[in-house]
Symmetry: C2
Subunit: 248 residues, 2 copies
Protein backbone atom coordinates (compact mmCIF):
# COMPACT_ATOMS: atom_id res chain seq x y z
CA UNK A 1 0.00 0.00 0.00
CA UNK A 2 1.19 3.52 -0.83
CA UNK A 3 2.93 5.39 1.98
CA UNK A 4 0.36 8.04 2.83
CA UNK A 5 0.42 10.86 5.36
CA UNK A 6 -2.58 12.85 6.55
CA UNK A 7 -1.74 16.52 7.19
CA UNK A 8 -4.09 18.74 9.18
CA UNK A 9 -4.10 22.00 7.24
CA UNK A 10 -5.97 24.91 8.80
CA UNK A 11 -4.59 27.50 6.43
CA UNK A 12 -2.36 29.18 9.04
CA UNK A 13 1.42 29.39 9.00
CA UNK A 14 2.03 26.50 11.40
CA UNK A 15 0.05 23.96 9.39
CA UNK A 16 1.50 25.32 6.14
CA UNK A 17 5.06 24.76 7.40
CA UNK A 18 3.98 21.32 8.65
CA UNK A 19 2.69 20.53 5.16
CA UNK A 20 6.07 21.65 3.83
CA UNK A 21 7.81 19.24 6.22
CA UNK A 22 5.50 16.36 5.25
CA UNK A 23 6.10 17.15 1.59
CA UNK A 24 9.86 17.17 2.16
CA UNK A 25 9.80 13.65 3.68
CA UNK A 26 8.57 12.27 0.36
CA UNK A 27 10.69 14.43 -1.93
CA UNK A 28 13.70 12.13 -1.80
CA UNK A 29 11.62 9.40 -3.45
CA UNK A 30 12.14 11.26 -6.67
CA UNK A 31 8.69 10.34 -7.90
CA UNK A 32 5.48 12.37 -7.89
CA UNK A 33 5.23 12.67 -4.12
CA UNK A 34 2.13 14.87 -4.09
CA UNK A 35 0.00 11.73 -4.10
CA UNK A 36 1.57 10.70 -0.78
CA UNK A 37 -0.13 13.60 0.95
CA UNK A 38 -3.73 13.69 2.19
CA UNK A 39 -4.89 17.11 3.41
CA UNK A 40 -7.60 17.42 6.05
CA UNK A 41 -9.40 20.65 6.87
CA UNK A 42 -12.11 21.32 9.42
CA UNK A 43 -14.64 24.13 9.29
CA UNK A 44 -15.78 24.67 12.84
CA UNK A 45 -17.90 27.76 12.49
CA UNK A 46 -15.01 30.06 13.33
CA UNK A 47 -15.23 33.71 12.31
CA UNK A 48 -12.80 33.37 9.42
CA UNK A 49 -14.03 29.99 8.21
CA UNK A 50 -14.33 30.86 4.51
CA UNK A 51 -10.96 32.55 4.32
CA UNK A 52 -9.23 29.63 6.03
CA UNK A 53 -10.89 27.13 3.67
CA UNK A 54 -9.72 29.25 0.75
CA UNK A 55 -6.15 29.13 2.11
CA UNK A 56 -6.43 25.36 2.57
CA UNK A 57 -7.48 24.87 -1.06
CA UNK A 58 -4.70 27.10 -2.35
CA UNK A 59 -2.02 25.37 -0.24
CA UNK A 60 -3.33 21.98 -1.44
CA UNK A 61 -3.07 23.19 -5.04
CA UNK A 62 0.45 24.50 -4.37
CA UNK A 63 1.56 21.01 -3.31
CA UNK A 64 -0.55 19.29 -5.97
CA UNK A 65 -2.46 17.33 -3.31
CA UNK A 66 -5.26 15.13 -4.67
CA UNK A 67 -6.51 13.46 -1.46
CA UNK A 68 -8.52 16.13 0.33
CA UNK A 69 -11.18 15.95 3.01
CA UNK A 70 -13.10 18.95 4.30
CA UNK A 71 -15.38 18.35 7.29
CA UNK A 72 -17.94 20.55 8.97
CA UNK A 73 -17.83 20.71 12.74
CA UNK A 74 -20.73 23.14 13.13
CA UNK A 75 -21.41 21.85 16.62
CA UNK A 76 -18.18 23.45 17.88
CA UNK A 77 -19.73 26.86 17.31
CA UNK A 78 -23.11 25.61 18.56
CA UNK A 79 -21.64 24.73 21.96
CA UNK A 80 -19.68 27.99 22.08
CA UNK A 81 -17.20 28.54 24.89
CA UNK A 82 -14.64 30.17 22.60
CA UNK A 83 -14.28 33.65 21.19
CA UNK A 84 -13.24 32.06 17.89
CA UNK A 85 -16.65 30.52 17.36
CA UNK A 86 -18.97 32.59 19.56
CA UNK A 87 -19.64 35.87 17.78
CA UNK A 88 -20.86 37.44 21.01
CA UNK A 89 -17.48 37.02 22.67
CA UNK A 90 -14.70 39.47 21.90
CA UNK A 91 -11.49 38.26 20.28
CA UNK A 92 -8.73 39.49 22.61
CA UNK A 93 -6.20 42.03 21.39
CA UNK A 94 -2.75 42.46 22.83
CA UNK A 95 -2.44 45.49 25.08
CA UNK A 96 0.58 47.73 24.72
CA UNK A 97 2.22 46.55 27.89
CA UNK A 98 2.15 42.94 26.76
CA UNK A 99 3.74 43.69 23.40
CA UNK A 100 6.04 40.86 22.47
CA UNK A 101 9.01 43.16 21.85
CA UNK A 102 11.16 41.08 24.20
CA UNK A 103 10.69 37.89 22.19
CA UNK A 104 14.15 38.48 20.71
CA UNK A 105 15.28 34.95 21.40
CA UNK A 106 13.49 32.04 22.95
CA UNK A 107 15.57 32.41 26.10
CA UNK A 108 14.38 35.95 26.60
CA UNK A 109 10.64 35.28 26.61
CA UNK A 110 9.41 36.98 29.77
CA UNK A 111 7.11 34.65 31.64
CA UNK A 112 4.60 37.43 32.30
CA UNK A 113 3.80 37.52 28.60
CA UNK A 114 2.77 33.89 28.59
CA UNK A 115 0.57 33.54 31.65
CA UNK A 116 0.91 29.95 32.79
CA UNK A 117 -2.53 29.49 34.23
CA UNK A 118 -4.77 31.58 32.03
CA UNK A 119 -6.35 29.75 29.15
CA UNK A 120 -7.35 32.43 26.61
CA UNK A 121 -10.90 32.83 25.33
CA UNK A 122 -9.63 31.74 21.92
CA UNK A 123 -9.17 28.22 23.32
CA UNK A 124 -11.70 25.97 21.57
CA UNK A 125 -12.61 23.25 24.08
CA UNK A 126 -10.71 20.02 23.37
CA UNK A 127 -10.40 21.03 19.73
CA UNK A 128 -7.23 19.14 18.90
CA UNK A 129 -8.63 15.84 20.20
CA UNK A 130 -11.59 16.31 17.88
CA UNK A 131 -9.37 17.18 14.92
CA UNK A 132 -6.96 14.32 15.52
CA UNK A 133 -9.80 11.83 16.02
CA UNK A 134 -11.21 12.53 12.60
CA UNK A 135 -7.64 12.41 11.27
CA UNK A 136 -7.29 8.89 12.68
CA UNK A 137 -10.66 7.80 11.27
CA UNK A 138 -9.64 8.97 7.83
CA UNK A 139 -6.08 7.66 8.10
CA UNK A 140 -7.37 4.22 9.08
CA UNK A 141 -9.68 4.06 6.06
CA UNK A 142 -7.15 5.27 3.48
CA UNK A 143 -4.28 3.36 5.07
CA UNK A 144 -2.15 6.36 6.06
CA UNK A 145 0.60 5.63 8.58
CA UNK A 146 1.29 9.19 9.71
CA UNK A 147 -0.75 12.19 10.76
CA UNK A 148 0.99 15.56 10.82
CA UNK A 149 -0.34 18.32 13.06
CA UNK A 150 1.22 21.79 13.33
CA UNK A 151 0.81 22.45 17.05
CA UNK A 152 3.42 24.75 18.56
CA UNK A 153 4.32 24.32 22.19
CA UNK A 154 4.99 28.03 22.62
CA UNK A 155 1.21 28.30 23.06
CA UNK A 156 1.25 25.75 25.90
CA UNK A 157 0.16 25.48 28.60
CA UNK A 158 -2.22 28.26 27.66
CA UNK A 159 -3.78 25.88 25.16
CA UNK A 160 -3.70 22.58 27.06
CA UNK A 161 -4.18 20.50 23.92
CA UNK A 162 -0.93 21.62 22.30
CA UNK A 163 1.42 20.01 24.82
CA UNK A 164 3.79 17.14 23.99
CA UNK A 165 2.17 15.06 26.76
CA UNK A 166 -1.15 15.52 25.01
CA UNK A 167 0.23 14.24 21.69
CA UNK A 168 1.87 11.30 23.49
CA UNK A 169 -1.39 10.41 25.23
CA UNK A 170 -3.22 10.68 21.93
CA UNK A 171 -0.79 8.28 20.27
CA UNK A 172 -1.44 5.79 23.05
CA UNK A 173 -5.19 6.20 22.63
CA UNK A 174 -5.13 5.69 18.89
CA UNK A 175 -3.06 2.52 19.22
CA UNK A 176 -5.71 1.12 21.57
CA UNK A 177 -8.72 2.37 19.64
CA UNK A 178 -7.94 1.20 16.11
CA UNK A 179 -7.73 -2.20 14.41
CA UNK A 180 -4.88 -4.50 15.50
CA UNK A 181 -3.24 -4.19 12.07
CA UNK A 182 -3.54 -0.38 11.95
CA UNK A 183 -0.32 1.47 12.70
CA UNK A 184 -0.70 5.24 12.76
CA UNK A 185 1.49 7.79 14.47
CA UNK A 186 0.71 11.43 15.13
CA UNK A 187 3.70 13.66 14.44
CA UNK A 188 3.95 17.24 15.67
CA UNK A 189 7.26 18.41 14.19
CA UNK A 190 6.91 22.02 15.36
CA UNK A 191 5.92 21.26 18.93
CA UNK A 192 9.22 22.27 20.50
CA UNK A 193 9.86 25.29 18.32
CA UNK A 194 9.30 28.98 18.83
CA UNK A 195 7.02 30.67 16.34
CA UNK A 196 9.87 32.62 14.72
CA UNK A 197 11.78 29.36 14.24
CA UNK A 198 8.72 27.98 12.47
CA UNK A 199 8.80 30.96 10.10
CA UNK A 200 12.53 30.46 9.47
CA UNK A 201 12.02 26.78 8.71
CA UNK A 202 9.10 27.59 6.44
CA UNK A 203 11.26 30.02 4.49
CA UNK A 204 13.95 27.34 4.09
CA UNK A 205 11.31 24.94 2.78
CA UNK A 206 9.89 27.61 0.47
CA UNK A 207 6.39 27.14 1.85
CA UNK A 208 3.70 29.41 0.34
CA UNK A 209 3.33 31.90 3.22
CA UNK A 210 1.52 34.24 0.82
CA UNK A 211 -1.38 31.75 0.72
CA UNK A 212 -1.76 31.45 4.50
CA UNK A 213 -4.24 33.16 6.81
CA UNK A 214 -3.78 33.85 10.51
CA UNK A 215 -6.18 36.64 11.50
CA UNK A 216 -8.86 35.59 13.98
CA UNK A 217 -11.12 38.53 13.17
CA UNK A 218 -11.17 39.53 9.51
CA UNK A 219 -11.36 37.68 6.23
CA UNK A 220 -10.45 40.44 3.78
CA UNK A 221 -7.42 42.27 5.16
CA UNK A 222 -5.78 40.91 8.32
CA UNK A 223 -6.54 43.15 11.34
CA UNK A 224 -2.95 43.17 12.63
CA UNK A 225 -4.25 43.55 16.18
CA UNK A 226 -5.66 40.21 17.33
CA UNK A 227 -3.53 37.73 19.24
CA UNK A 228 -2.91 35.63 16.15
CA UNK A 229 -1.95 38.61 13.92
CA UNK A 230 0.42 39.85 16.63
CA UNK A 231 2.05 36.45 17.01
CA UNK A 232 2.47 36.18 13.25
CA UNK A 233 3.84 39.69 12.93
CA UNK A 234 6.36 39.19 15.74
CA UNK A 235 7.41 35.78 14.43
CA UNK A 236 8.22 37.16 10.96
CA UNK A 237 9.98 40.17 12.47
CA UNK A 238 12.15 38.03 14.75
CA UNK A 239 12.92 35.65 11.91
CA UNK A 240 14.00 38.62 9.79
CA UNK A 241 11.66 37.55 7.02
CA UNK A 242 9.13 39.67 5.18
CA UNK A 243 5.50 38.70 5.80
CA UNK A 244 4.00 38.59 2.31
CA UNK A 245 0.39 39.28 3.34
CA UNK A 246 -1.17 42.73 3.73
CA UNK A 247 -2.61 44.25 6.87
CA UNK A 248 -5.31 46.86 7.52
CA UNK B 1 -22.35 25.04 39.62
CA UNK B 2 -24.97 22.37 39.08
CA UNK B 3 -23.76 18.77 39.04
CA UNK B 4 -24.19 17.89 35.38
CA UNK B 5 -23.57 14.67 33.49
CA UNK B 6 -23.34 14.29 29.73
CA UNK B 7 -24.82 11.00 28.49
CA UNK B 8 -24.09 9.72 24.99
CA UNK B 9 -27.45 8.42 23.80
CA UNK B 10 -27.49 6.63 20.44
CA UNK B 11 -30.99 5.28 20.85
CA UNK B 12 -29.90 1.66 21.34
CA UNK B 13 -30.40 -0.47 24.45
CA UNK B 14 -26.89 0.03 25.88
CA UNK B 15 -27.06 3.80 25.89
CA UNK B 16 -30.66 3.72 27.15
CA UNK B 17 -29.63 1.59 30.16
CA UNK B 18 -26.66 3.93 30.67
CA UNK B 19 -29.07 6.87 30.71
CA UNK B 20 -31.10 4.97 33.30
CA UNK B 21 -27.97 4.55 35.45
CA UNK B 22 -27.06 8.24 35.11
CA UNK B 23 -30.62 9.17 36.00
CA UNK B 24 -30.50 6.89 39.05
CA UNK B 25 -27.36 8.59 40.40
CA UNK B 26 -29.29 11.84 40.76
CA UNK B 27 -32.58 10.35 41.98
CA UNK B 28 -31.50 10.24 45.60
CA UNK B 29 -31.26 14.05 45.59
CA UNK B 30 -35.04 14.06 45.77
CA UNK B 31 -35.24 17.13 43.57
CA UNK B 32 -35.99 17.43 39.86
CA UNK B 33 -32.96 15.52 38.69
CA UNK B 34 -33.79 15.63 34.98
CA UNK B 35 -31.96 18.94 34.76
CA UNK B 36 -28.75 17.18 35.86
CA UNK B 37 -28.68 15.24 32.62
CA UNK B 38 -27.36 16.46 29.28
CA UNK B 39 -28.03 14.12 26.36
CA UNK B 40 -25.71 14.03 23.35
CA UNK B 41 -26.54 12.35 20.06
CA UNK B 42 -24.50 12.04 16.90
CA UNK B 43 -25.85 11.50 13.40
CA UNK B 44 -23.04 9.97 11.43
CA UNK B 45 -24.77 9.13 8.18
CA UNK B 46 -25.53 5.59 9.29
CA UNK B 47 -28.32 3.68 7.54
CA UNK B 48 -30.80 4.05 10.39
CA UNK B 49 -29.90 7.65 11.28
CA UNK B 50 -33.46 9.02 11.39
CA UNK B 51 -34.84 6.17 13.43
CA UNK B 52 -32.01 6.45 15.98
CA UNK B 53 -32.52 10.20 16.30
CA UNK B 54 -36.21 9.57 16.89
CA UNK B 55 -35.34 7.09 19.66
CA UNK B 56 -32.94 9.64 21.17
CA UNK B 57 -35.65 12.31 21.30
CA UNK B 58 -38.16 9.92 22.85
CA UNK B 59 -35.73 8.68 25.50
CA UNK B 60 -34.83 12.30 26.32
CA UNK B 61 -38.53 13.10 26.71
CA UNK B 62 -38.98 10.01 28.90
CA UNK B 63 -36.35 11.32 31.32
CA UNK B 64 -37.48 14.94 30.95
CA UNK B 65 -34.02 15.99 29.73
CA UNK B 66 -33.74 19.65 28.76
CA UNK B 67 -30.04 19.90 27.83
CA UNK B 68 -29.75 18.24 24.43
CA UNK B 69 -27.15 18.43 21.69
CA UNK B 70 -27.46 16.72 18.32
CA UNK B 71 -24.42 16.87 16.04
CA UNK B 72 -23.92 15.86 12.45
CA UNK B 73 -20.83 13.83 11.64
CA UNK B 74 -21.53 13.49 7.93
CA UNK B 75 -17.84 13.04 7.24
CA UNK B 76 -17.92 9.59 8.90
CA UNK B 77 -20.04 8.33 6.04
CA UNK B 78 -18.02 10.38 3.55
CA UNK B 79 -14.83 8.55 4.48
CA UNK B 80 -16.62 5.18 4.50
CA UNK B 81 -14.79 2.11 5.74
CA UNK B 82 -17.82 0.76 7.60
CA UNK B 83 -20.88 -1.16 6.49
CA UNK B 84 -22.93 1.00 8.84
CA UNK B 85 -22.24 4.11 6.83
CA UNK B 86 -21.25 2.83 3.40
CA UNK B 87 -24.42 1.78 1.59
CA UNK B 88 -22.41 -0.25 -0.90
CA UNK B 89 -21.11 -2.57 1.82
CA UNK B 90 -23.32 -5.37 3.14
CA UNK B 91 -24.34 -5.41 6.78
CA UNK B 92 -23.30 -8.85 8.01
CA UNK B 93 -25.94 -11.31 9.16
CA UNK B 94 -25.29 -14.14 11.57
CA UNK B 95 -25.01 -17.52 9.87
CA UNK B 96 -26.83 -20.50 11.36
CA UNK B 97 -23.69 -22.16 12.71
CA UNK B 98 -22.75 -19.04 14.65
CA UNK B 99 -26.16 -18.73 16.31
CA UNK B 100 -25.67 -17.54 19.85
CA UNK B 101 -27.73 -20.39 21.33
CA UNK B 102 -24.86 -21.30 23.64
CA UNK B 103 -24.82 -17.85 25.31
CA UNK B 104 -26.73 -19.37 28.21
CA UNK B 105 -24.37 -17.90 30.77
CA UNK B 106 -21.36 -15.71 30.31
CA UNK B 107 -19.10 -18.65 31.20
CA UNK B 108 -20.42 -20.69 28.32
CA UNK B 109 -19.68 -18.24 25.52
CA UNK B 110 -17.81 -20.30 22.94
CA UNK B 111 -14.75 -18.43 21.75
CA UNK B 112 -15.46 -19.28 18.12
CA UNK B 113 -18.53 -17.06 18.26
CA UNK B 114 -16.46 -14.01 19.15
CA UNK B 115 -13.48 -14.09 16.81
CA UNK B 116 -10.66 -12.34 18.64
CA UNK B 117 -8.85 -10.95 15.65
CA UNK B 118 -11.59 -10.11 13.20
CA UNK B 119 -12.89 -6.56 13.40
CA UNK B 120 -16.36 -6.65 11.80
CA UNK B 121 -17.29 -4.42 8.88
CA UNK B 122 -19.72 -2.64 11.21
CA UNK B 123 -16.72 -1.13 13.03
CA UNK B 124 -16.74 2.63 12.35
CA UNK B 125 -13.10 3.75 12.40
CA UNK B 126 -12.17 5.34 15.74
CA UNK B 127 -15.80 6.28 16.28
CA UNK B 128 -15.80 6.30 20.06
CA UNK B 129 -12.84 8.68 20.23
CA UNK B 130 -14.75 11.07 18.00
CA UNK B 131 -17.92 10.76 20.07
CA UNK B 132 -16.13 11.16 23.39
CA UNK B 133 -14.11 14.13 22.11
CA UNK B 134 -17.24 16.07 21.31
CA UNK B 135 -18.64 14.93 24.66
CA UNK B 136 -15.63 16.48 26.38
CA UNK B 137 -15.91 19.72 24.37
CA UNK B 138 -19.54 20.07 25.40
CA UNK B 139 -18.95 18.96 28.99
CA UNK B 140 -16.18 21.53 29.38
CA UNK B 141 -18.43 24.36 28.15
CA UNK B 142 -21.48 23.46 30.26
CA UNK B 143 -19.39 22.46 33.28
CA UNK B 144 -20.35 18.78 33.39
CA UNK B 145 -18.11 16.59 35.51
CA UNK B 146 -19.10 13.21 34.11
CA UNK B 147 -19.60 11.70 30.69
CA UNK B 148 -21.50 8.42 30.50
CA UNK B 149 -20.96 6.11 27.54
CA UNK B 150 -22.71 2.76 27.10
CA UNK B 151 -19.89 0.68 25.65
CA UNK B 152 -20.08 -3.03 26.39
CA UNK B 153 -16.87 -5.00 26.57
CA UNK B 154 -18.53 -8.13 25.22
CA UNK B 155 -17.96 -6.55 21.83
CA UNK B 156 -14.23 -6.20 22.48
CA UNK B 157 -11.69 -6.78 21.12
CA UNK B 158 -13.75 -7.00 17.97
CA UNK B 159 -14.42 -3.30 18.33
CA UNK B 160 -11.09 -1.97 19.60
CA UNK B 161 -12.60 1.28 20.89
CA UNK B 162 -14.86 -0.41 23.44
CA UNK B 163 -12.09 -1.79 25.66
CA UNK B 164 -11.50 -0.66 29.25
CA UNK B 165 -7.92 0.28 28.31
CA UNK B 166 -9.32 2.59 25.66
CA UNK B 167 -11.57 4.37 28.16
CA UNK B 168 -8.65 4.64 30.62
CA UNK B 169 -6.40 6.12 27.92
CA UNK B 170 -9.15 8.53 26.96
CA UNK B 171 -9.52 9.72 30.54
CA UNK B 172 -5.80 10.42 30.63
CA UNK B 173 -6.01 12.32 27.36
CA UNK B 174 -8.90 14.49 28.46
CA UNK B 175 -7.14 15.41 31.69
CA UNK B 176 -4.17 16.63 29.65
CA UNK B 177 -6.18 18.30 26.91
CA UNK B 178 -8.61 20.43 28.90
CA UNK B 179 -8.26 23.52 31.09
CA UNK B 180 -6.40 23.05 34.39
CA UNK B 181 -9.61 23.67 36.37
CA UNK B 182 -11.69 21.27 34.27
CA UNK B 183 -12.36 17.91 35.92
CA UNK B 184 -14.25 15.50 33.72
CA UNK B 185 -14.36 11.74 33.96
CA UNK B 186 -15.66 9.31 31.35
CA UNK B 187 -17.70 6.52 32.94
CA UNK B 188 -18.58 3.30 31.13
CA UNK B 189 -20.75 1.50 33.68
CA UNK B 190 -21.65 -1.42 31.37
CA UNK B 191 -18.15 -2.12 30.13
CA UNK B 192 -17.66 -5.34 32.10
CA UNK B 193 -21.17 -6.69 31.62
CA UNK B 194 -22.62 -9.22 29.23
CA UNK B 195 -25.40 -7.95 27.00
CA UNK B 196 -28.09 -9.99 28.80
CA UNK B 197 -26.95 -8.50 32.11
CA UNK B 198 -27.41 -5.06 30.58
CA UNK B 199 -30.99 -5.99 29.70
CA UNK B 200 -31.62 -7.31 33.22
CA UNK B 201 -30.26 -4.12 34.76
CA UNK B 202 -32.34 -2.02 32.38
CA UNK B 203 -35.46 -3.89 33.42
CA UNK B 204 -34.65 -3.25 37.11
CA UNK B 205 -34.22 0.45 36.34
CA UNK B 206 -37.44 0.50 34.30
CA UNK B 207 -35.70 2.01 31.29
CA UNK B 208 -37.92 2.58 28.24
CA UNK B 209 -36.77 -0.36 26.08
CA UNK B 210 -39.87 0.16 23.91
CA UNK B 211 -38.36 3.46 22.71
CA UNK B 212 -34.97 2.01 21.72
CA UNK B 213 -33.70 0.99 18.28
CA UNK B 214 -30.98 -1.56 17.54
CA UNK B 215 -31.39 -2.71 13.93
CA UNK B 216 -28.48 -1.81 11.66
CA UNK B 217 -30.50 -2.25 8.46
CA UNK B 218 -34.12 -1.12 8.73
CA UNK B 219 -35.87 1.89 10.18
CA UNK B 220 -39.49 0.72 10.12
CA UNK B 221 -39.60 -2.84 11.49
CA UNK B 222 -36.36 -4.32 12.85
CA UNK B 223 -34.93 -6.94 10.47
CA UNK B 224 -34.21 -9.49 13.20
CA UNK B 225 -31.30 -10.82 11.17
CA UNK B 226 -28.43 -8.35 11.38
CA UNK B 227 -25.72 -8.70 14.00
CA UNK B 228 -27.27 -6.04 16.21
CA UNK B 229 -30.79 -7.50 16.04
CA UNK B 230 -29.42 -10.96 16.85
CA UNK B 231 -27.45 -9.66 19.82
CA UNK B 232 -30.51 -7.83 21.11
CA UNK B 233 -32.76 -10.83 20.60
CA UNK B 234 -30.38 -13.20 22.38
CA UNK B 235 -29.78 -10.75 25.21
CA UNK B 236 -33.50 -10.40 25.98
CA UNK B 237 -33.99 -14.18 25.65
CA UNK B 238 -31.14 -14.96 28.06
CA UNK B 239 -32.34 -12.30 30.48
CA UNK B 240 -35.80 -13.89 30.39
CA UNK B 241 -37.35 -10.54 29.54
CA UNK B 242 -39.78 -9.76 26.75
CA UNK B 243 -38.40 -7.49 24.02
CA UNK B 244 -41.15 -4.90 23.56
CA UNK B 245 -40.30 -3.98 19.93
CA UNK B 246 -41.66 -5.74 16.84
CA UNK B 247 -39.64 -7.57 14.19
CA UNK B 248 -40.23 -8.29 10.50
Amino acid sequence: MKDLAVVLVSGGIDSCVTAGIANKTYESNGVDHSSNLAFLHINYGQRTEKKELDSFEKIADFYGVKHKLVCDFKWLSKIGGSSLTDLEMDVPVFKKETKLKSFATSQEIPPQNVPEQIVPTTYVPFRNANLLSIGVSWAEVIGAKKIFIGVVNQDAPRYPDTRPEFIQAFNKLLKLGTKPDTHIEVLAPLINMQKYEVVKLGAELNVPFHLTWSCYKNDALACGKCESCKQRHDAFKLAGINDPINYE
